[in-house]
């Protein structure tokens, strides 16, 4: 793989009343495929339409309507698989998962149980401090989303909107390789980042375009290692599945709550029931979804409306050739080519648009570390204050590179650079020209600085005496000189001169 060295982190330990416990977590992430039309119909996937406006008769399950698969959706699933280093199955097939719910008019969801389109892959989840967990992907399959029920508009009725019914999802199933709430959130963050780089899912969790089901069980120290050796689940505890979470914070809170709940049950001599639970963010607890239990008998069978999905290796190769540079590779390159720290490179590659901006800055800038500081601290900070997106940044990469070049060549001080940044951010213009026109150039002429230092010393004999007793007071002189020169004196030169003149 990539040239990344990392240390495997220790699992998070939860202290019970009697023992210490560890968690074993597997996740199913549902990612909405970024298509225009639905998986099996020509209705739009656009968010926020009038209720039931984005519905074809196929989605409403009118009798006699037949599904026809959207080629683009298949391509995105393959693309995602390739992005996760996964094996691509040239032949896959669709199955019906049968259950009744008002927002699923077919009475079944078309999914891929027996032959998914993507097989085993992996995701490297970095956890900071040189630690990372390699989480194995078991499979990715394509399936239909369900509609939306609204329960709070009427005391006796539920209202159903089928706009989302039939929208294409990728279900990305991990192995139980995740060992704590923070790791679970980091896994989803990494997956989301890769999906956004690939362009296969927009990752918008607020709109429900990326949602996670979490399988949690507890075990004593050493049991997980036995499972790893044998792949025998009997070494692990009974798991509960927490459904449908669409925020990183909820994922962590739900796992945390669930861990403590299971530990309390087992330590009291009880046993955990395998069940589906729902996280309630208002009460910060998980509750059993009892109604789901009986319906769990899904009676899967091959969908008779759809032939097996056969794709060509050449097509897969074409998709592979079109893959963009992915986060891990980009980060390593940023560290290597631009001399960035792991931390800075992680921030700059978190979003592909940020990485693209920085790369344009580096087209002309020479000091990567300095440029990274300015992009991360000044630019990102300023954009955040204005709630402005990087693609709409008032400062172009060339302008930012110009500012960095002026600092690098000692033409302006860091303090003046901040003023210059603000001027360009609000008014625009060429950095070098502005510095020239407004006389912002740093004074490096020691003669001029010396004169300023002499003047301050001559005017403040008492302070000079004090400073000789307490060398820390030299800072006061430096400040006065900076003030006298309008902040344009080179601070390094001022420091040296003040120290020399005061005989410190």
């Amino acid at each position: 793989m990539l040239d990344l060295t990392f240390e495997t982190p220790k699992p998070k330990v939860f202290a019970g009343a009697k023992h210490d416990w560890e968690l074993v977590i597997g996740m199913e992430v549902h990612a909405q495929i970024s298509s225009q039309a639905k998986l099996f119909s020509g209705a739009s996937t656009k968010f926020g339409a009038e209720p039931n406006a984005n519905v074809a008769f196929v989605d409403a399950a009118m009798p006699g309507m037949l599904p026809v698969i959207n080629d683009f959706c298949v391509e995105q699933a393959v693309r995602t698989g390739l992005g996760l280093n996964a094996e691509i199955n040239l032949k896959s097939a669709f199955d019906r998962k049968n259950y009744f719910y008002p927002d699923l008019p077919q009475g079944y969801q078309i999914s891929q149980l027996y032959e998914p389109i993507v097989g085993e892959g992996e995701v490297l989840v970095e956890l900071g401090g040189g630690k990372a967990r390699l989480v194995r992907i078991e499979r990715i399959h394509i399936e239909q989303d369900a509609g939306k029920s609204i329960h709070d508009m009427d005391p006796h009725m539920s209202f159903v909107d089928l706009n989302r019914t039939g929208v294409a999802l990728m279900e990305i199933v991990s192995r139980p390789d995740i060992r704590g709430p923070e790791e679970a959130a980091a896994y989803v963050t990494k997956l989301r980042q890769i999906l956004r780089y690939l362009g296969t899912c927009d990752g918008n969790m607020q709109n429900g375009n990326l949602r996670a089901d979490v399988n949690v069980s507890i075990c004593r120290h050493g049991q997980y290692e036995k499972y790893q050796e044998t792949q025998d689940f009997s070494h692990l505890g009974t798991r509960c599945e927490i459904k449908n979470m669409n925020s990183m914070r909820f994922i962590q809170a739900a796992i945390d709550y669930e861990a403590r709940r299971q530990i309390a049950i087992v330590e009291a001599g009880g046993s955990v029931d395998q069940e589906t639970r729902l996280y309630d963010p208002d009460k910060n607890e998980t509750r059993s979804m009892r109604s789901k239990e009986e319906a769990h008998d899904y009676r899967y069978f091959p969908c008779p409306d759809l032939m097996p999905l056969e794709i060509e290796q050449a097509w897969v190769d074409d998709i592979e050739a079109s893959l963009p540079e992915l986060p891990d590779a980009k980060k390593v390159r940023f560290m290597h080519d631009f001399g960035l720290t792991d931390y800075d490179a992680s921030i700059l590659t978190a979003e592909v648009v940020n990485a693209a901006y920085f790369e344009k800055v580096m087209g002309t800038a020479s000091d990567g570390k300095l440029a990274a500081n300015w992009v991360i601290n000044e630019l990102f900070g300023r954009l955040k204050k204005d709630e402005c997106d990087i693609v709409d940044s008032p400062i172009s990469p060339a302008q930012l590179a110009g500012i960095v070049a002026l600092i690098k060549s000692d033409a302006i001080s860091g303090k003046i650079a901040k003023d210059l940044f603000e001027i360009i951010y609000t008014e625009g213009g060429d950095p070098a020209e502005i510095v020239e026109k407004r006389g912002m150039k740093q004074v490096t002429d020691t003669g001029a600085i010396e004169a300023a230092v002499d003047a301050i010393i001559a005017a403040n004999p008492e302070q000079v005496e004090k400073a000789k007793q307490n060398p820390k007071l030299a800072g006061w002189f430096v400040g006065q000189v900076m003030k006298a020169t309008g902040g344009k004196a080179n601070p390094k030169s001022v420091n040296q001169l003040v120290a020399a003149k005061l005989g410190l």
Binding site: Q36, A43, S44, N52, I69, N70, I150
Partner: protein, 95 residues
């Protein structure tokens, strides 16, 4: 495999089809007849035979990613027993 009335009742419930108690034995018998036929089929040795999905050499038809349908809220809702403000209105279903 033999289907008893309890299993028949469960299958009916999963399919959301109401079957009165006195009709269950006959239903179970029907299931058993069907399963009996399938058991007969299972006697055929199909080791190494690729499952046939179609009698004609067809491949899955695919569609390009274009919006060609929808915008027919009125038609979609026209068969609904109850609809309000563009939604299907159904008896309350909540977890």
């Amino acid at each position: 495999m033999s289907i008893d009335t309890k299993t028949a009742a469960k299958v009916a419930k999963l399919a959301r089809i109401r079957v009165e108690d006195d009709a269950l034995p006959a239903l179970a018998q029907e299931f058993n007849t069907i399963l009996g036929f399938i058991e007969q089929l299972q006697e055929v040795d199909v080791d190494g035979v690729e499952p046939m999905v179609s009698v004609t050499p067809m491949r899955l038809k695919r569609r390009s990613d274009e919006v060609t349908d929808g915008d027919q809220q009125g038609k979609v809702l026209s068969n609904a027993p109850d609809s309000r403000e563009g939604f299907f209105a159904v008896p309350k279903v909540v977890e």
